[in-house]
């Protein structure tokens, strides 16, 4: 023990060990391997991010140099009805779709966790929709949901229901986009499944002995133990839901048909930049979105201290 203490003390006070020739070579190689990624991060993420903050304060029509206009683009956002409509639609989409997505993904993961035979097959099947391009998936959904000739409405009518005009009725269209977004759940499900499979066997068995009721175990053992995965899926889900774009563009075009019901924030941003060539305005929208999502994420992390439990956590 004394020897160990001595060694520790000696280690703490000794000067940093200089790298030998071989060590320096390793470090150089490591740096070289990391270099492409660092260059990519700098060129394609950090510089564009900083440029976005700058362009947001300019009138920039892509062709020609940007002209400084101060906060004019933010002021224009404030009075733009399309921006407010899209912000409202996007908030609604996020608030509704993220919790539903989490619940369904957790349900699927719980089912998959019980499957012993063909588990690899089922995991692949649930992951497959994620691999389909969003444009193709959206078009398939649009064909399925065609008012009179679509298979979904034909089936619903055969069962005696009065189906909605999924993508034609402004009251139903946003819900249809939410429905569409629930389809590729593979990533969330696999993350939950990873968490479920990391729950120690002895804890699980002890919970079974303490209470025969399955939901007790789910609420008091399973959910707390996979809360880091819930946090991860929640944060990623919120970030993605505020950036919903492809499905909205395919379904509603740049005007958010029908009657702006599917007009999302990113669609307004995209059309400002690439349809109206008002890049300064689009950059201002991007900046506001960035700040908004950042604040929301920080808020979630702040509240996470009270409901996320990490293994070995003393609380």
């Amino acid at each position: 023990m004394a020897i160990l203490a001595k060694e520790n003390t000696a280690g703490a006070s000794s000067p940093p060990r200089r790298l030998g020739l071989a060590g320096r070579g390793e470090a150089r190689a490591g740096f070289l391997f990391a270099l492409p990624w660092m260059v990519g991060l700098t060129v394609f993420t950090i510089i564009p991010l900083l440029l976005t903050f700058y362009i947001a304060q300019t009138k920039f029509q892509i062709v020609g140099p940007p002209k400084y206009v101060g906060l004019a683009n933010y002021a224009a956002m404030w009075i733009d009805p399309a921006m407010w409509t899209s912000a409202r639609n996007t908030m609604f989409f996020a608030v509704v779709s993220v919790p539903i997505k989490l619940v369904i993904a957790l349900g699927l993961a719980l089912l998959l966790n019980r499957v012993t035979a063909l588990s690899g097959f089922y995991r692949t099947v649930f992951y497959l929709p994620f691999l389909m391009p969003a444009v193709a998936g959206s078009i398939v959904f649009m064909l399925l949901l065609t008012p009179d000739a679509g298979p979904v409405n034909i089936a619903l009518k055969a069962l005696g229901f009065s189906p909605p005009d999924w993508l034609l009725d402004p009251k139903a269209a946003l819900w249809t986009i939410i429905l569409l977004s629930l389809w590729p759940l593979g990533v969330e499900t696999l993350v939950f499944l990873g968490g479920l499979q990391n729950i120690p066997q002895d804890v699980s068995e002890a919970a079974d002995l303490d209470s025969p009721r399955g939901w007790h175990k789910l609420v008091w053992i399973t959910i707390p133990l996979i809360s880091p995965m819930i946090l991860f899926n929640l944060v990623i889900g919120i970030i993605y839901s505020f950036q919903v774009f492809t499905q909205a563009l395919v379904v509603g075009g740049t005007t958010g048909k029908p009657a702006e019901a599917t007009l999302m924030y990113m669609v307004v941003l995209y059309r400002a930049a690439f349809r109206y060539f008002n890049v300064g305005y689009a950059a201002a929208m991007a900046t506001v979105l960035f700040v908004g999502v950042l604040l929301l994420t920080l808020l979630i992390f702040r509240t996470a201290r009270s409901w996320v439990h990490y293994e070995g956590d003393s609380r």
């Binding site: 062709v63 690439f274 109206y276």
Partner: protein, 458 residues
Amino acid sequence: MSIMTYATPKALSRRSFLQSSAAAGAALAMPGAAWSQAEGQLLLWLPGGSDLFCKIHTGLLDSFSAKAGLGAASTVCGLGQDTEFTQALIGSITAGNPPDISMLWDSPVSLGAQGAFMPLDEMMKGSQIPIETWPAGLLSSCQFKGATYGLPVTAGVYSMWYNEELFEAKGIPSDRASFPKTWADLRKLSKEFTEWDGDTLKVAGFMPNRVSETMAIWSALNGGMLFDEANLKYVLDSEQNIEMMNFFVDWFEEEYKGDVNLIDRSGNFRDGYADGNTGMGPAFREGRQAGMQSGSWLMGDIYADPVPVFTRWNLAPNPYGPSGTASVSGTWPNWFVIPVGSKNAQAAFDYLSFLAVEGSVEWYQQIPDVPTNSQVKLKAPTGLVENRGQEFADDLSTFLGTQAAIVTPMWNSPVQSFGNDQVARAIEKIYTKAQPVKEALAEAQAASQAELERVLAG
């Protein structure tokens, strides 16, 4: 043994990994180099279109290049429609490596006004295609503050299409001269055909317009306009436009139960093509719609899939509204531009001259986009001659030529896409009864005018 294999000097070392990465990067960069422009070799970009469309343009450019003694020309087809194509084109211009010449399916005014395209006025002077050889209404779609930023080499000409067989079955004269001259007459005629089965529209006559791109034609037919080019001002909520939309809404209420969803659920009554989003076939070709306004490009496709249930159809001039005095036409042109930074600008313009006068004849014969330069001697489209005979095809070509001469100025705003989206929004709000006519048009007017002023502010 396997460890030995891994440890062999032939395994991937860091150095060879980096070398391979560099080689792969160079290989990836090659296609970009293949698309880049070289001096003395014309590069043409096309937004989209069929394989035939690409083949025609590739052939025309190749034959021009051979005749002009230029190097091998390149045509890049199908770069994406609408916004995707514009993105690619702007990207190439700002990167300093644009094509020499590009086709556009959106007005060149917006980007031309911002300096993306070369003004052609100087090159047009003394050329084969001087300014006076173009219809003024059409050329205005390329002009801003006196500069011409592109040429509408061919155009789809909008007129009224009607099913002659459906007319005759009802005992209604089907000759062009008897076609209604006013909106009131068209509305009266439409009722003769429209049939409902409960909430399902079985057959429609003619429909009030719901298409934003053609609203400028309907406005002109009622003596109005959407954009006042001379005064650089939007006039979406003018008296004529309010009257127009009220007329349409009234017609819609009376004949179509005032519910767009009932119509859209019953079929595709919007145009002569199958709806890619819903899979619904075109009601016109299905013999369920007496007529509609459409562009001349449909002539090239109408006998293709889905094959119409009838053979005989015809075209007639657009009828005019209560405040209008005469028929006018409109177009959706195929614009050509020479981007700023083109390394072969003069050769590109020479190709434009060739295309406008000689090349467009072959183009029209295979795909009926109407040549617009006054010097062109039209030859009827081959497909139309095969299906309807030489006489009919010649008659239609002459008719389209007269229609191309009376086009109303459209596509001429420096904020064309923004204005069009505002009109689309207003139309949707009006037909879904989310907003009354006056209010919806006033909102579209305010937004469009504000955007115009922002862009013009410099």
